[in-house]
Symmetry: D2
Subunit: 301 residues, 4 copies
């Protein structure tokens, strides 16, 4: 199995309502992303509202996306369940549908310590056969993958890499040091740090905004990997402007990310702007700003 | 429906393994608690490993316990799901089985703000018909029910009371002030504060240790409500000693509470000591200390 | 030297402005407190704006208060300096002026770990001869005295006791367990927990509100120690009402405590309401509420 | 007055003991830094143990360093006092000695809110005449300069720029956006992010390691500003290796930074390794590692 490198958007989950997927929206979104040149898809993460939708909807989403993708790019599935057994169920389903990777977050309810985190990953490796990516997002789960723990986990067979959403570039560089000369893949979560992470040697990013403008993030990936720093800095300014508007307004950060992306995707006629509880939709004021941004952005290329 | 007052243990969930309930253990435990004089049972909370077991096991547990209880005391069901829809499913099942209350925690994954918390409770009230108790446990969920929010929620029809596990006695007294002259029921989570909470006017407690020695906590309830402070102070010293051992050892707090209680219950031949992931069982060293405590405690009455 | 038991107000520091003490205000306040029956005075703590005023003003304050007190009750001096050497200077001055105890907080700038905290207390014990009280206030200093550290420090010669402002009644009860059968004195910081702390065996309290109504807190001390729980509960309701108003309004908690107390003391013609930077004075709205409270309180006794 | 751009080491404060400066060490260190090409010096910050030494030693240090520098490069003085008046005293002294800038941290004891922070800076601007830099270090002070507050403060006359030690590169980029097209100077605190910060448009850095190897950091500054990314990446690896050793071992982060730098400087015969309380010296084990690093580093250039 080859290494994945590049842009792997954390796909939002198009919804008709709290209880039903927006199936045509899913088709549109998958095609939009693939035609935008992304290198993979990551389902059911924080941006994908993985923890909020029902297990049965998670299963349907995996099936539907894998069917639509038809192996054109790899699909990763997030395991964000508080129940280990339900995470394993999802992992089995992912394997069955042809997904190519799993992304495991520490459970959000019980705040396990480092040895418990090591043990949990170990227990998960016993149950799954797809490559595993560790998902570090202490702002959400309140549990960090400390460097000592990562140093023990990354060499384990079955662990392919890590998605780091801590926003801590020092930590990311320490991960890079740890994994130099290995096949481990490191992905940056927050897109505001995508350029920096690629410069210091990350393999790619999982930028929410790539749901909207996949080409922009693919271009960033190419600019840095081809050594064109001027272009990268230019693209960086665009990304910073985009996130300021799309992730702006009121609410907490994950809420603003999800409702902003979905609002933009609806404005682009790709899928519904509906979000699942406990999140709230973007306000009208935010929607207006997003529509203006989209116009400007599209006009300016 | 009458007010519940008194001791409502957060029942641990007897397990054979990660994937199967210990059904005879459940029967034993329910009978142990009822014969110990408790005033209600609270299922699927933090101590009940609600978030860690599969939804289908949650449903079976509710059914099984309600069947066993046969209406002798009220049963409350915890809604700790990250998915609102799965919480509603559980609420429906609880109603169908004859449970008498629901206990709602903010979802643990997305850290909603106060207006989102208000909205979520509001949305839940639209979906359920059993009385609702708010569950404040910011150490676990990272989301507090701030006093301003509580002041708006408690008067809502359908909201019967609150379980406060913040450990913050100033907050608890402010809750008391807010609800004076009302029917609202306030329950204290941490048993180390049970005596104090009853003195300042709480209606009861949800003490983990009552899984082991229900009479001890019932006696405390009676001592304070009958004005026998000397006796209460005596019982308080016992509770402090018990929790020091049972909740001691290594691990994080919820882990130590669950594995200590289950270890003690196995020593008393009531149910299995098995815990579900990501928790770990009590160490042998801890088990030994618990067995000694049990002997002393039982001998001394 | 005898044990101190009872009410030791954290005296506010009367100021003319940021740079000058309100000397007549200090005299009035000291007399007001002594005639109110308090058992000691604690200078230069969080409520005393110890960290905000100049070292030279701290020295003058100690001198002035000791001169006024004339040994009628013990005076304790807070060491809140970020500089160890300046703390020692203050300790020397306190000794010279006749103070009877020192209250040491971990430095607020560098967030030392537990072994560093132990070492620091150890180093301080080498430099001072007055009895030392440990000051636990993690909300302010971000450094807790963990129970293991306290267990090593309290038996040290020279360590007389502890002031716990954590607001954590479970912790306070664990301190009580640790010090049973010893001469160690435990004082409760937040007055909302004064009653509870006395019930579980604390020696006294350091309640901010005792600056305003020393008799109220002295009465609480007597009610609990004489076993009159009904009276204590009555007084507790008064204390809760008082703190709600006096510590209410906008600002952060220490700010609201200090400006509320000083506002009340000015309304009672005892001293100036001036506060030092970075705190802000009580708003006019808050002042109005405080004046109303004072009227009601005084009328009702 | 011209803009400062480049490397401004947070100078450690050479000490003979807790109570006395290492005056020859100060001379050596200043000459070492100037001959290493640094663009300025920052005294009495977190790395400079500003909060821990006595006010009189702070004054002597400012005098001594300014005398030694003789205007060759600008000197900035940190105002980390908990007492506003003592901060103003220091500012006056800095001005008198010829310092060229002041660096203000929120007081570490009282955790002021954003409007209080704004007010405090405003009050400080009334008292000082040297250019002011805001010092954002929430890990130490627990008070962040939120972007809304910064947006109001940076345009104020007298505010020249900001030192950001939050370690948050997203925040730093938002600062950059806020200040585009202005004269505001942005400095990066943690040296692990120096390269990234210069790439996204920062004016310079305040790297602790520049106390040891000023040329290394000056070279990084030049590499990025001249567009030589390959060289920058190379230097970055060296910086990461250096900080891993020098800031390694046990203790909390500021402690490890200070004792590591001083240990290295003593190994280089520049000044004493002594630190002031509450910090602890580097362990022998750490010292050994640092000495090895120094040999390798010096050999490899």
């Amino acid at each position: 199995m080859n290494r994945v490198e590049g842009i792997v958007p954390p796909m939002v989950t198009p919804l008709l309502n709290d209880d039903a997927l927006d199936l045509p929206g899913i088709e549109n979104l998958v095609e939009h992303l693939i035609s935008g040149g992304v290198h993979g898809l990551f389902l059911l993460g924080t941006t994908g509202e993985g923890p909020s939708i029902k297990q049965s909807m998670r299963v349907t989403l995996i099936q539907k996306v894998c069917d639509q993708v038809q192996g054109r790019i790899p699909v990763w599935v997030g395991l964000m369940n508080t129940s280990f057994r339900e995470a394993v169920e999802l992992a089995d389903k992912a394997k069955e549908c042809g997904a190519r990777g799993l992304v495991l977050a520490p459970p959000s309810f019980y705040k396990i310590e480092q040895h418990g985190l090591y043990r949990l990953v170990d227990q998960m490796l016993d149950e799954i056969s797809l490559p595993l990516y560790l998902y570090n997002n202490p702002g959400v789960t309140q549990v960090s993958f400390e460097l000592e723990t990562v140093a023990r986990l990354l060499p384990r067979e079955g662990v392919r890499g890590m998605k780091d959403s801590s926003g801590d570039m020092i930590y990311f560089q320490r991960l890079r040091e740890l994994t130099e000369q290995t096949e481990t893949e490191l992905y940056m979560g927050p897109e505001e740090l995508l350029m920096e992470s690629l410069i210091v040697g990350g393999q790619g990013g999982i930028p929410g905004g790539a749901n909207i403008f996949p080409e922009l993030y693919v271009a960033m990936y190419k600019a840095v990997t081809s050594g064109d720093l001027d272009k990268a800095q230019n693209l960086q300014r665009k990304i910073m402007r985009l996130t300021k508007v799309v992730y702006g307004g009121s609410g907490f950060i994950a809420e603003k990310v999800v409702n902003g992306i979905k609002c933009a995707l609806q404005a682009l006629d790709i899928c519904s702007a509906e979000v699942s509880k406990p999140l709230d939709r973007a306000s009208e004021k935010k929607e207006k700003k997003i529509r203006e941004l989209l116009k400007t952005h599209i006009r300016s290329g």
